[in-house]
């Protein structure tokens, strides 16, 4: 266990250095904030344009729904990318995977450690985005003190699910070519569409709603929104689930996805070793 912990700590430190030491700390902070805030502003402008031509009286409920979902989606994009890109960056970019892989550590734990620094940056970005929305854009946030423990538990469970999904993708990326950017856009895109992040599930066709209900992150967004923005009245089609049921779903999903991530990681690793792909490069 101490080896795992040491691996995790060292990998987290390494990840942090790789992410941040290319520039001055203030520039890194700015960099970490600009991307998510610009992402939020795309939605703000979409809303402004629609209101200007289609609904002059505005729709603050729809806007708050979208803004809160998008803010928490920063976790999805960052944690997923931070996890599955480890294998590809070590393999293709730094070409160090062969040395790390043969060292006496758990590569699985090493990936988790590398992702930890991304989570730290994401927490900061989410907080800034929410704060900006509440202060300047009229987003209605209200987290009651009594709800804080449940909010923290649900956030930890949501992150656990995300890490496990990221490792699943990492396992697959043992066998694929240099697809980091396709994956970075595409897989979060899947959750962006089907998990009720920007719009309620009712907008999707029935098959899309079924997919959304099968993804645990849908429930994570739902409970998060209920806890920090309880006044939003948009019909999410998930009103029948009480918060404790949703928490139960998240616990079961995080355990299930952890098991799946170990399985996919092991299978990907086995076939990559068999095909001699552990340290392949595909730089076209």
């Amino acid at each position: 266990m101490s080896t795992y912990w040491r691996t995790f700590k060292t990998a987290a430190w390494l990840g942090w250095e790789m992410d941040s030491n290319w520039t001055e700390p203030w520039l890194f902070v700015l960099y970490s904030v600009i991307k998510p805030v610009a992402g939020a502003f795309i939605l703000v402008l979409m809303y402004i344009v629609f209101v200007a031509i289609g609904r002059p009286q505005g729709d603050t409920d729809a806007f708050s729904y979208m803004y809160v979902g998008n803010s928490f989606f920063i976790f999805v994009a960052t944690v997923l990318f931070g996890t599955f890109q480890v294998i590809q960056s070590d393999r293709e970019w730094y070409q160090t995977i062969r040395y790390i892989y043969i060292s006496p550590i758990s590569y699985y734990v090493y990936i988790l450690g590398r992702a930890a620094s991304k989570i730290a940056v994401a927490v900061f970005a989410v907080a800034i985005t929410l704060l900006f929305g509440a202060m300047f854009l009229g987003v209605r946030l209200h987290l009651a003190l009594a709800d804080v423990p449940m909010f923290l538990v649900s956030t930890v469970l949501g992150l656990a699910v995300l890490l496990a999904i990221g490792i699943c993708l990492g396992g697959i990326s043992f066998l694929t070519a240099k697809h980091t950017h396709g994956l970075a856009e595409g897989i979060p895109g899947l959750f962006y569409v089907f998990c009720g992040v920007l719009f309620p599930l009712s907008i999707l066709p029935s098959w899309g709603q079924a997919i959304g209900r099968a993804i645990p992150l849908t429930y994570w967004f739902e409970i998060t929104r209920r806890l920090i923005a309880p006044t939003i009245t948009v019909n999410t089609t998930l009103a029948g689930f009480d918060p404790l049921t949703i928490l139960f779903f998240l616990i079961v999903s995080s355990v299930g996805f952890f098991a799946l991530s170990v399985l996919i990681y092991k299978v990907g690793e086995y076939f990559a070793r068999k095909a001699g792909k552990i340290d392949m490069t595909t730089s076209y």
Partner: protein
């Protein structure tokens, strides 16, 4: 004059050599992508989902607006038409039709923006970062020793990149029409093609220029590329008409002007006018007319290509002088 020197000064030989270099550098991008089937899934299908999300956002807004129009109350028996109750059934129907048309136009804007996103990402990650990437994996010194013009190398990367990215761009357009039911009304196909290719040449010219600068910036390059995704999508109006920024007093026009230095901004504005009609959105969100935007794009294309040539020559010399041409991870 030796035979080798005579050949190097022969214009026909040099043109042939550079064309072969263009073909040679574009080849691995075109053929490499076809040899890796998973690439098609990752590059063409998955990114559609992100675009679909923005489409659904507009449909969500449209649905909410339509619900406000069709919901009858005692104060508004024909629903709400904007701030006021609808006067009669005809006014209600007209307001609902306007919401439908506007939603379609906005969805079409997203689809066109999604097409351009493909090219912009290719410019960032496969043009601008490429020379730095080549340096990291040890190919750059081979390119520098080869006898062709460096611009031929960048030209080959651009041609290969355009072909490789076209699959994603076409998938986005096809999905827009078939899945989301977007209706495009193309009145001037030749002008549309001219705008499209002027935009691409200007974009890839910018990418060529960045490629040289990235050599100088080293490790910051990757982060710079990452930084030029969402902020550029926002400031260049990839998912909404750029004129929307002009509606925001103060910082809005400043951001729009800054974003207009990326050729995709004006290119998208012109493409939207040409495919949706200049009266779409009440004609209130366009920056310039199509002819002016085409002229600016052609000017940008020429300017960026010239700047790319000078940047490349300057930075190659600088990198050689400082001994950084082959140093990795810096």
């Amino acid at each position: 004059m030796s035979e080798a020197k005579a050949r190097r000064s022969d214009l026909r030989y040099r043109i042939g050599l550079n064309l072969r270099a263009v073909k040679g550098r574009s080849y691995p991008r075109i053929v490499g992508a076809n040899r890796e089937p998973s690439w098609i899934f990752f590059e063409a299908f998955l990114p559609l989902l992100g675009i679909a999300a923005y489409v659904f956002v507009y449909q969500f807004f449209g649905g909410q607006a339509l619900a406000a129009i069709t919901t009858k109350t005692t104060a508004a028996p024909w629903g709400m038409c904007g701030h006021d109750p609808c006067a009669n059934a005809a006014a209600q129907a007209a307001a609902a039709a306007a919401v439908g048309a506007n939603t379609n136009a906005l969805v079409a804007s997203v689809v066109l923006g999604g097409t351009m996103v493909a090219f912009w990402l290719n410019v960032l990650w496969s043009m601008a970062s490429q020379l730095y990437w080549e340096k990291e994996i040890g190919n750059l010194q081979l390119y520098m020793m080869a006898p062709m013009n460096r611009m031929a190398l960048l030209g080959g990367m651009a041609v290969g990149g355009v072909v490789m990215t076209s699959m994603r761009a076409i998938s986005t357009l096809v999905a827009g029409v078939l899945v989301f039911g977007v209706i495009f009304q193309v009145a001037s196909p030749l002008v549309l093609l001219a705008v499209f290719f002027a935009t691409l040449i200007a974009l890839y010219g910018l990418g060529m220029m960045f490629a040289s600068l990235y050599l100088l910036w080293g490790r910051e390059a990757w982060n710079l590329s990452a930084l030029m995704e969402e902020p550029i999508f926002f400031s260049s109006g990839f998912y909404f008409p750029l004129g929307g920024l002009l509606r925001i007093p103060g910082w809005g026009p400043a951001i729009a002007i800054a974003g207009s230095f990326i050729p995709a901004s004006l290119g998208l504005d012109a493409l939207r006018q040409l495919t949706l009609g200049s009266t779409a959105f009440g004609g209130n969100f366009w920056i310039f007319d199509v002819t002016t935007e085409l002229e600016i794009l052609v000017g940008m294309a020429v300017l960026f290509l010239i700047l790319a040539r000078y940047c490349l020559a300057y930075l190659e010399t600088l990198a050689k002088r400082e001994g950084k041409l082959t140093s990795r991870h810096q």
